[in-house]
């Protein structure tokens, strides 16, 4: 599909009703945003409220497709190493701007790139910043930040993606290796923004579970493959602070990973809704009785079949072997409400996951 057609498709989505279908009732946005739930669990939980979003436009350039969306300014939590810190909505913030980046050929979301955004009004630069990868239950994985604007009007957003440094395998070898910039028109009016769905979750707030992701037509979701869709033989799975690790073994490593042996791939996804959990430090030990078969890093890797995963080449995996996985760095993505305590998060602690090979 060409860019114009994509843009038209995007424009057709801007009615909030199109997004609200999966969200049930909605109401106009009240003045106050509910407070952060006091009794939130150390787990994925239903946030105090959910908000819809509007599509601004899409563009494709080189190896990358981009979608630009916006919503109300959000509070979110930044993650830097072990530290998780709340970013409150600032007075001058008008919108939460979101971008999604994916491979237009395979529709695979690229969750581990650097992205920066410049917002122009005519030739005048309104703002520019590196924007962070984020996880949100309704919005899925995206790159986002709150921005202040100069009121209603026509803006242009330049999105610049950096070359990926994540290891790529299979047909992704050599791809996503150049920086690219696209321009997407962004029409903003406060009134149109106020029409975006806003829903309080009332009694469900802070209970374990997650709201469903909103689907955006024309844009891929950021879901990990279901277990049955993963290539290789799934040897087991385990949960660590609501991050689910599904482990599959391939007879040989994907093309581009040159070591000899079997390939153990750990596909990390959120409990309840299978969102990719990227940018994590992961180590593991594979043991056969008292013998250690492999000990070391599971490397962040993007593969067209396995999607984003953590992989290691081992001599061989056999029934009865034990694989122990240790998270050394929690997923380095900012979190929207409902995700800030899980996968490490505010209270830290991602337990080791031990799998006995079936």
């Amino acid at each position: 599909m060409n860019r114009r057609a994509l843009l038209q498709a995007g424009a057709a989505l801007t009615g909030s009703a199109a997004l609200a279908g999966c969200m049930g009732l909605f109401e106009t946005r009240p003045i106050g945003i509910p407070p952060i739930p006091e009794d939130r669990p150390d787990a994925i939980y239903i946030p105090s409220h959910v908000e819809g979003m509007k599509m601004s436009g899409m563009a494709t350039q080189g190896d990358y497709a981009f979608g630009l969306m916006y919503s109300y300014a959000h509070r979110f939590w930044n993650v830097n190493g072990d530290s998780v810190s709340l970013t409150e909505i600032a007075d001058e913030d008008d919108v939460h701007l979101m971008a999604s980046v994916w491979d237009p050929e395979t529709m695979t979301v690229l969750p581990d790139t650097g992205l920066s955004a410049e917002i122009y009004q005519g030739d005048s630069l309104v703002t520019q910043e590196a924007i962070y990868p984020m996880l949100s239950q309704p919005m899925g994985f995206h790159y986002g930040s709150n921005f202040g604007l100069n009121g209603d009007g026509e803006y242009t957003v330049k999105l610049s993606v950096g070359a990926m440094s994540t290891r790529r395998s299979g047909a992704f070898q050599g791809r996503f290796s150049e920086p690219t910039t696209v321009e997407i028109p962004f029409e903003y009016s406060q009134q149109a923004k106020e029409e975006i769905m806003f829903k309080r979750m009332e009694d469900k707030t802070a209970t374990p579970g997650a709201v469903d992701p909103m689907e955006m037509e024309m844009m891929p979701d950021s879901l990990a493959p279901s277990e049955s869709d993963l290539p290789g033989t799934v040897i087991g799975s385990g949960m660590s602070n609501d991050a689910k690790f599904v482990v599959t073994v391939l007879e040989t490593p994907p093309a581009g990973i040159d070591d000899d042996g079997q390939y153990v791939a750990v596909s990390a996804r959120s409990r309840y809704n299978r969102m990719i959990l990227p940018a994590m430090g992961l180590e593991g030990t594979l043991s056969k009785g008292s013998e250690t078969v492999y000990e070391g890093e599971f490397t962040r890797t993007l593969d067209p079949n396995l999607n984003y995963h953590y992989g290691a080449v081992v001599d061989g995996v056999e029934s009865g072997d034990e694989l122990s996985l240790r998270v050394t760095v929690q997923p380095q993505t900012a979190r929207h409400e409902g995700y800030e305590t899980s996968f490490g998060g505010l209270m830290g602690g991602m337990d080791d996951v031990t799998i006995t090979v079936e």
């Binding site: 650097g114 630069l125 520019q128 950096g162 920086p179 760095v329 380095q332």
Partner: protein, 434 residues
């Protein structure tokens, strides 16, 4: 800005005048400027290197160079295609000699140079001597796509006196009959067109006074004592190459150096509002600097050396333990030769230029001198820290990775600064003129 608004602090008017330029700016400056006469110069008393600054500028009590406060960069194209004529050469030489006569070679007078781009040298069907390399500028990080400055040459004017850089520019443009009492008998603009004019300032007080620019939060966080917008001193003597070191030693271009000039936009909202001063020390210098409380305030206590060399080997451990690495720590990895000598001589200065528009943004002109352009490229690549993003996901392409989150490279140009004797439209084999 109304330059004659009596309520503006003097310093602010002087900087604003340099940014605006022209006759009215110069006269505003002269009204406010030093009443001290500007020392005149002797063309025969100039150093043989155009980049000789160190002996002729102020130093602080630690011996660190204090760069001239006001600076102008004029990017020019020579009229016509092909090889410049001997008339062009003699006119340009005379125009530059006017400046030599008009001003002492010092921060109180004027330091000036002209440097030539690879595109300029393509006018000649002649290779460089073997020991000179001048590649075209290129993108040096996996996340930048700057515009390249490929004009023929760049004229650099620097002085502590705003009125001097303005007057020198007016002389080059032929808009003044006299410069500091010296008759202007030849003009740069007789042989070239000024394609881009850029200005800036450096030194304690100036950035604080000019922080009303896009990219700096409204809280006015830039300390009065800081010579730069980011709030720290830079260019400590022990962390800079010497002028001798960056000078090409042999061959026809002996006495030359290469100059990379980048322009960066700074976006310091998160730098100041999201980060503590400890975070800033960690990201500017190294986590070790923060842990050991090595930096007080703007860093004057560091003396003549930031002490970065002792933290270079820790960088992977710092990435793992702190989830951050320092800018100076990364760059230093590639900025030392086998004997431990520093390779680059950085002379960056601040600006509110948003090249191509009139708005004021926090920006930085970054001239760096080095013997070979590739030395600069190596340091810039080390500063990308791409290897460290593989050590831990906490270090991202631009986040927690030194100061990359706050700086956006918008322009880059490569130039050769010939020795004074060949400063006027040199050939790639400059001896062929004589």
């Amino acid at each position: 800005m109304d330059l004659v608004d009596g309520n503006l602090p003097r310093r602010q008017v002087l900087k604003a005048a340099v940014a605006v330029g022209g006759a009215s700016a110069l006269s505003a400056c002269l009204d406010l400027g030093d009443s001290e006469p500007v020392p005149t110069g002797d063309p025969n008393a100039k150093p043989s290197r155009q980049h000789a600054w160190r002996e002729y500028i102020r130093h602080d009590e630690h011996g660190n160079s204090q760069l001239p406060k006001h600076q102008i960069l004029l990017y020019i194209n020579f009229d016509g295609n092909g090889q410049p004529s001997t008339d062009t050469r003699s006119t340009l030489e005379r125009a530059l000699t006017v400046l030599d006569r008009a001003y002492e070679w010092s921060h109180e007078g004027l330091l000036h140079s002209i440097a030539y781009s690879p595109s300029y040298f393509e006018r000649f069907d002649q290779p460089f001597p073997e020991n000179v390399e001048l590649p075209q500028p290129r993108a040096l990080s996996p996340f930048e796509s700057p515009r390249f400055d490929t004009q023929d040459a760049v004229v650099h004017l620097a002085s502590d006196r705003a009125d001097v850089v303005l007057e020198a520019e007016q002389a080059l443009r032929g808009e003044q009959d006299q410069a500091n009492g010296v008759s202007v008998d030849a003009r740069l603009t007789d042989v070239a067109t000024i394609e881009s004019r850029r200005t800036g300032f450096v030194g304690a007080g100036l950035p604080a006074e000019h922080q009303d620019a896009a990219g700096i939060p409204d809280s006015r966080p830039v300390p009065e004592a800081s010579p730069l917008f980011m709030g720290f001193e830079a260019g400590f003597r022990g962390n800079q190459a010497t002028e001798d070191y960056v000078t090409i030693q042999d061959g026809p271009f002996a006495g030359a150096t290469t100059k990379v000039i980048a322009n960066l936009r700074q976006r310091l909202e998160d730098w100041y509002d999201e980060q503590s001063s400890e975070d800033r020390v960690m990201e500017m210098f190294s986590p070790g600097h923060a842990e050991n409380d090595l930096v007080e305030g703007v860093g004057s206590n560091l003396g003549s050396n930031s002490g970065i060399d002792q933290f270079v080997d820790d960088i992977e451990a710092d990435a793992r333990d702190h989830g951050r690495v320092g800018h100076a720590q990364k760059a230093a990895r590639a900025n030392r030769d086998a004997d431990g000598n520093v390779k680059l001589l950085r002379r960056h200065f601040e600006s509110t230029d948003d090249i191509g528009s009139d708005q004021k943004v926090a920006s930085l002109h970054f001239p760096s001198l080095q013997r070979r352009i590739v030395d600069f490229e190596d340091v810039r690549r080390a500063m990308n820290g791409t290897d460290l993003t593989e050590v831990t996901p906490a270090i991202r392409q631009r986040v927690n990775n030194g100061i990359l989150e706050y700086i956006f490279v918008r322009r880059r140009g490569n130039f050769l600064v010939p020795p004074r004797r060949y400063r006027a439209v040199p050939k790639p084999r400059p001896e062929s003129y004589s």
